[in-house]
């Protein structure tokens, strides 16, 4: 008699329990999503099999048999698809990394100029921002590419702007030091010196907190790096041989080259993104109350110290989150490289998926890579944001 009553009581209490209902709803949603995912994936594989389309990632080890113009690692048509994608990944990283650095530098200069009391300077900055921000970035890339190809002369009539620096529609060629072990060791010493500078800075800050004495660690650090690298150069025999570009047959041999594809992509992405960064800088600087600057001047800090120690740390708290998304945008926009023939990850994935017919695999690879790059940038910027936020008293 009491048994059914009890269980009914338990059941009805489950219906009325908010927690039980919540758990039930979550199970339902998760199960639904899992079912849809399973349905789509299993059907995809079934249909690919029906059409006789190859699946799996084994194609990555096959010989690619196509050429790539720009590669940071050795690449010939005899290398594999996997290596071709690696080349594309490195090319994407190269243009994104340089783009982020230049866009930030230009963005800061333009942003500060925009706030300048000099009317002409601030107008020029405003025109710059409005011009490059309001034209779609794809059109800008094509514009720069067409301009470089059509405005610059053929290699035979290349403009020699500086001795051994050539501008032609094959790109910009400039001399670089010829290969020598000295440069490797200079790189090693440079990294060691950077660690030294970091230690020096830590010591200098601790020393300042302890005694109130400042130590010019920036200049000392710079001297440390320059002197140690230069000594390494001398010790390794001070090589002076240069690799200079020389016109041979069709093209220049020797030296280093920035191709029209790379240049147009870098210029386009940099100019476009720098306009957003300029406005972010402006909003950051405007967010710091004027009283902060006045107070720090009254305390006797120099204008540069006021900027570095009072205004920027506070402004950067406002600036970092939107900067992060601009860095992500630039990296993702670099996939427009396809339009100007720069062999980035997407471009080489496209070629790969066409030669192998394995579109899903190739797309999955570059989606995963972009997601990875974006997450790394986000993590770094979040870490930096947290570090800056701690400055708040």
């Amino acid at each position: 008699m009491s048994e059914p009553l009890k269980s009914r009581k338990r059941l009805s209490s489950l219906i009325y329990s908010e927690k039980a209902r919540g758990v039930f709803a979550q199970i339902l949603v998760t199960g639904g999503i899992a079912f849809i995912a399973w349905y789509l994936i299993s059907n995809t594989f079934e249909n690919l099999a029906n059409q006789g389309i190859a699946t799996g990632y084994s194609f990555l080890s096959l010989e690619s048999s196509f050429g790539i113009s720009e590669h940071m690692i050795e690449f010939t048509p005899a290398d594999s698809y996997g290596r071709a994608l690696m080349v594309g990944f490195l090319n994407t990283m190269k243009v994104s990394f340089l783009g982020i650095i230049f866009a930030t530098l230009i963005g800061f200069v333009v942003g500060v100029s925009r706030m300048s009391k000099n009317w002409i300077l601030s107008r020029i900055a405003a025109v710059y921002i409005n011009l490059f921000r309001n034209i779609p970035v794809l059109l800008q890339l094509i514009f720069w590419y067409t301009l470089i190809n059509n405005a610059l002369p053929s290699p035979k009539r290349a403009l020699e702007v500086l001795p051994d620096v050539f501008f032609s529609n094959r790109g910009v060629l400039f001399p670089v030091p010829a290969e020598h072990p000295a440069y490797f060791w200079m790189g090693v010493v440079f990294v060691i010196a950077l660690v030294g500078v970091w230690l020096l800075r830590r010591w200098a800050l601790a020393h300042r907190d302890r005694t109130g004495q400042t130590f010019p660690y920036v200049w000392a650090g710079l001297a440390l790096v320059v002197v140690s690298v230069f000594i390494t150069y001398l010790v390794c025999g001070a090589p002076t041989e240069m690799s200079t570009p020389v016109l041979k047959g069709f093209n220049f041999k020797g030296g280093a080259k920035l191709s029209p594809e790379f240049l147009s992509l870098l210029i386009g992405l940099t100019l476009y993104t720098s306009t957003y960064i300029a406005d972010i800088v402006r909003s950051g600087l405007l967010s710091v109350p004027k009283g902060q600057e006045e107070a720090s001047t009254d305390l006797g800090l120099k204008p540069s110290q006021t900027l570095m120690h009072v205004v920027l740390p506070q402004a950067s708290r406002v600036m970092i989150p939107p900067l992060t998304s601009q860095y992500l945008n630039l990296t993702k926009n670099s996939s427009l490289a396809v339009a100007v023939g720069y062999p980035d990850l997407v471009s080489l994935s496209n070629t790969t998926m066409n030669q192998t017919g394995q579109a899903i695999e190739a797309i999955s690879i570059f989606m995963a890579v972009y997601l990875g790059i974006s997450l790394v940038i986000s993590l770094f910027m979040n870490w930096y944001n947290k570090k800056m936020a701690l400055v708040e008293r």
Binding site: L40, Q51, I53, G67, R170, N251, S347, N350, N354, A359
Partner: protein, 339 residues
């Protein structure tokens, strides 16, 4: 362009996933149901597949597509065209965005197998060549060591190029631009020393140069490029119709049947071969799953292969039949018997 590719890429996954009930004859049924044939065409390749100034598509590949529409639906005008770049074409076919790929596509082993295509014949025998600026003074492909070469990605051209230079022990620098028209313009601007694609394509693109006489096509042909229509793997019924439509156009030329005189042939011809072809006797159409006057419709509305070749390839590009002549004239076009 990029978004289109992402859409195509996305739809391949989505459509592959959603269309569970794939079976033979599916494409023919869907063509009959929707009332037109959706063809993947080249974006702009005069003589093969290019829109006129009125937006009407013309070319040898376009004619084949019209012919397939005539065979299945009895009306050649029931064909629609999706312009595709080389890199988009296979995905578009696999994802059922188009029914038929009639886009100067080279028949290769891996495309016939791994890429999931079925080639339904060869409607143009071609080979890869090189185009250079006349001012460069180059007269042979063997002088191209160190050259910068403009190409379209995802083509056999791209692979042949690398093979050729490797075999000759020469080096080259590729400039790879997805859209063929932009790739050619980049070559004309002087960014590249060489543009390479199929010889017919070179003839076609050369005409788009600011001054075509400034450019020459080198004599070397470095590859075999049998270009033909492709359908999805596993779509045998549709592949048969496409294959035999092409053969019917060849057979008509061999028999001297044109769009102008086909009615006379149908009425008067005592040749059993012609009667079978035009459907006055036999059940050839039924065997293919179309009406028995399928070939009559093709010839009447589109014409035979020679007519199509003359008004497109010969008239637009000035190219002679060469390998594409009938076997009776020393060419490779050899129609299998319709019986």
């Amino acid at each position: 362009m990029k978004s289109l590719k992402l859409i195509v890429g996305g739809t391949i996954a989505a459509t592959a996933a959603l269309s569970t009930f794939a079976m033979a004859g599916e494409t023919v049924d869907s063509i009959k149901a929707k009332g037109y044939v959706q063809c993947g065409a080249n974006t702009a390749l005069a003589g093969f597949s290019a829109p006129t100034s009125e937006g009407k598509w013309e070319g040898l590949d376009i004619d084949l597509c019209h012919a397939v529409a005539a065979a299945i639906l009895g009306d050649a005008s029931k064909a629609r065209f999706t312009p595709l770049t080389a890199a988009q074409r296979f995905t578009a076919l696999q994802s059922k965005e188009v029914d038929l790929l009639a886009r100067n596509t080279t028949w290769t082993l891996s495309r016939d197998t791994k890429v999931g295509l079925n080639f339904a014949g060869v409607n143009y025998y071609d080979g890869q060549g090189f185009m250079v600026a006349k001012a460069s003074g180059i007269t042979s492909a063997t002088e191209l060591d160190g050259a910068t070469v403009c190409i379209e990605p995802g083509t056999t051209t791209e692979l042949n190029l690398a093979d050729y230079f490797r075999a000759q022990g020469m080096s080259f620098e590729p400039v790879v631009i997805e859209n063929a028209v932009e790739a050619v313009q980049t070559f004309f601007s002087g960014r590249c020393d060489v543009y390479t694609t199929d010889a017919s394509g070179l003839a076609s693109y050369r005409q788009t140069a600011p001054n075509p006489d400034d450019f020459i096509v080198l004599p070397e042909i470095i590859s075999k490029e049998p270009l033909g229509p492709a359908v999805r793997h596993g779509d045998e019924e549709f592949a048969d119709i496409v294959r035999w439509t092409h053969i019917a156009m060849l057979e008509a030329e061999e028999k001297g049947i044109t769009s102008a005189n086909v009615d006379t042939f149908k009425k008067d011809s005592k040749d059993p071969g012609v009667q079978r072809l035009l459907g006055t006797t036999g059940d050839m159409g039924k065997a293919l799953g179309v009406s028995d006057d399928w070939a009559y419709n093709v010839i009447k509305q589109v014409g035979n292969y020679g007519e199509s070749f003359d008004r497109n390839v010969k008239a637009k590009l000035g190219l002679e039949r060469g390998l594409n002549a009938l076997w009776t004239d020393g060419g490779l076009m050899y129609p299998a018997p319709i019986r």
